[in-house]
């Protein structure tokens, strides 16, 4: 257990799965052909990854969260939408592959909440089949988050380390194993399928410490202020060091803009693909005429902030951010999202 958790004094009777049994559960699922996705520690850092061996899993929930989020298992960095073949009798089109059953284990609460935000946009005016089918084919087992990092701020956005929203099964570490809480029917089914691995135990629940970060005291008020602050001159300074790469968008659990391209193999065959895009790169808004309505980098940076904290809440009543802090960790120019939100909040306070 990390410093962020300390045992409560009162014991309760809970359904508990010891770590060994959890490993056996995953092994059994793998043998059934389920794809298991979990955090792994690679030379280049901690990443969520499909694993073929239970021993590859990184069980440590302390330290920094995986570099990228769970987004790529539902909305991959590149994916075929269709492939085509012209031949003498006409055109043949192959649909994309059906998703495989997936069990995600060791998810962070913030990454699961991000999927609920993506659900809104991928099921908005058009039902995105590829995304939806992958969501349906997945069961998510979340661990109580033990990360302690000054870039993350989930609590400022109304969440917490022990937020079960969006998870199917939620696991809480104790000395005797993980307390298991089924959150959805999928979670209940997973527990029922592996019922003998869960035991009733007398355990003490860990107490979860809240972060003491003032940050933005009233997110709704900030969202309201941002709605009227497109022309605020502060943007030029807030975005001045941004270099216009897409690292923030690619590691972001909620950034969902994509580009669609046709990639021919030859004159008769090819594949149509959907690729991650980012509003931070100049090409994103470049017109065929050569005109770019977001010509300067700070205008692109403003777009990123306003999409997340103004335009998205206008449509979906929630900010498009989970406070995971990944953008701040990945930014090669040291743009820090929490710092920028705090700056904006103090501007909003001054303008009262």
């Amino acid at each position: 257990m990390s410093d962020a958790l300390s045992p409560m004094e009162m014991n309760t009777v809970e359904r508990v799965i010891p770590k060994d049994e959890l490993k056996k559960l995953l092994q059994a699922e793998m043998e059934k052909g389920t794809r298991v996705v979990a955090p792994v520690q690679l030379d280049e850092g901690r990443f969520y990854s499909a694993v073929s061996q239970v021993d590859a899993i990184d069980w440590d929930q302390t330290g920094k969260p995986p570099v990228r989020s769970l987004k790529e298992f539902f909305f991959p960095k590149t994916e075929p939408l269709l492939s085509y073949r012209y031949h003498q009798d006409g055109l043949e089109v192959d649909p994309p592959q059906e998703p495989v059953n997936t069990l995600i284990v060791g998810a962070r609460p913030c990454d699961v909440r991000a999927l609920l935000l993506l659900d809104k946009v991928f099921g908005w005016d058009y039902d995105d089949d590829l995304y939806k089918k992958r969501r349906e084919a997945s069961t998510i087992v979340t661990f109580l988050c033990e990360s302690d990092d000054e870039d993350c701020f989930c609590e400022m956005l109304g969440s917490s380390r022990d937020d079960t929203t969006g998870s199917d099964l939620f696991l809480i570490p104790t000395e005797k194993g993980y307390i298991a809480e089924a959150v959805t029917d999928k979670g209940t089914r997973l527990m029922e399928t592996h019922g003998d691995r869960f035991q009733e135990q007398d355990v003490s629940r860990p107490q979860v410490e809240r972060k003491q970060s003032p940050g933005v005291e009233d997110m709704d008020a900030l969202v309201g202020w941002l709605g009227e602050s497109f022309d605020n001159e502060a943007w030029a300074q807030l975005g001045i060091r941004c270099l216009g790469c897409g690292a923030c968008a690619h590691v972001c659990p909620t950034c969902h803009c994509f580009d669609i391209v046709d990639e021919p193999d030859d004159t008769a065959t090819g594949t149509r693909r959907r690729n991650w895009d980012s509003c931070q790169v100049p090409l994103f808004t470049l017109h065929a005429s050569g005109h770019n309505p977001r010509d300067l980098q700070f205008e692109r940076y403003r777009q990123r902030i306003l999409h997340k904290f103004s335009y998205f809440p206008e449509r979906f009543e929630s900010v498009l951010c989970t406070g995971c802090g990944r953008c701040s960790r990945a930014c090669p120019a040291d743009q820090n999202l929490l710092g920028v939100l705090e700056d904006l909040w103090s501007l909003a306070q001054q303008s009262k």
């Binding site: 280049e44 991650w276 790169v281 980098q297 990945a330």
Partner: protein, 284 residues
């Protein structure tokens, strides 16, 4: 530090420059970030120490239109950064007279875990070669070894097939976020070949083929111009061994033309010129 601030104040007060590009403490995380100082009263924000990893020369590129519009800049440069500025002058990105260079002696920058960055262990420019002002006492890198060279040697010891497999595995992880390109001071093209769509020279999809196509093209385009600052690898969230790739490219250029990265803007780039004496044994 005081020396730096005093100089910055003088340069701004005398209107010799309108902006000083340097480093300041980041408001969170204990690191530093780029600072753009326009008011002489703000020079106290400037810092320089082993945390100053960013190569700020990237902000002198023509494509950084907002910074360009701020007026004549002064910029804090370490040795490797000064070589990048020389590269920008050589490639007509900025005139020598249009920038004031504040050179700083540098004993190497440190990574997040407090260790000396691998790129600095083989540094041969602790003192900038190009500057208008040179600050601080002479510095020496305290560290031994060449992990980057060892990485390249390990790759070279593999069979061609194994080396190919290794690179396919490494390249498969790229998401095409373009951080390597945007953080590189020498990647200054206003329309990168990767962004050209008619025709689409390089697949924009982040599959291994597209990634190979992008990274090989980039490495080729930087041959003879890469200054070895290592920013590409620092910027890569996916952890691609880009510094090793570019080290190999520099080694090839040095082996073929006897040229190393230089802080002299007058010196032409090895692949940017032709001479009767060039080795032409490759033309058969």
């Amino acid at each position: 530090m005081e020396e730096l601030r005093t100089l910055a104040r003088e340069l701004l007060s005398s209107d010799k420059v309108q902006v000083v590009i340097g480093y300041e403490d980041a408001p969170r995380g204990g690191g530093v970030r780029a600072a753009f100082i326009t008011d002489p009263d703000d020079v106290e924000r400037l810092v320089f120490d082993e945390r100053c990893k960013n190569n700020l020369a990237v902000y002198l590129q023509k494509k950084r239109k907002q910074i360009r519009s701020m007026g004549r800049p002064a910029i804090v440069v370490k040795g490797c950064d000064a070589r990048a500025v020389a590269g920008l002058i050589r490639d007509s990105q900025i005139g020598r007279e249009n920038v004031e260079l504040i050179g700083v002696h540098c004993a190497g920058v440190k990574t997040e875990d407090g260790s000396l960055d691998a790129r600095c262990l083989v540094c041969d420019c602790t003192a900038p070669e190009l500057y208008d002002h040179l600050l601080g006492p002479e510095a020496e890198v305290q560290g031994e070894g060449d992990p980057l060279g060892e990485k390249v040697a390990a790759m070279e010891s593999l069979s061609a097939d194994d080396r190919w497999d290794l690179w396919m595995k490494e390249l498969s992880r790229c998401t095409r976020c373009n951080a390597c390109r945007e953080v590189c001071p020498i990647c200054f093209c206003e329309r990168c070949v990767q962004d050209k769509t008619v025709p689409q020279w390089i697949d924009s999809s982040a599959h291994t083929q597209g990634n190979l196509s992008w990274h090989v093209t980039r490495a080729m385009h930087l041959a003879g111009r890469c200054v070895g600052c290592g920013e590409c690898e620092r910027a890569c969230h996916a952890g691609l061994p880009l510094a090793a790739l570019m080290r190999k490219v520099r080694d090839i250029v040095e082996g073929s033309f006897g040229e190393k990265p230089s802080g002299d803007p007058e010196k032409v780039a090895p692949l940017g010129t032709f001479s009767q004496e060039d080795d032409d044994s490759l033309f058969k």
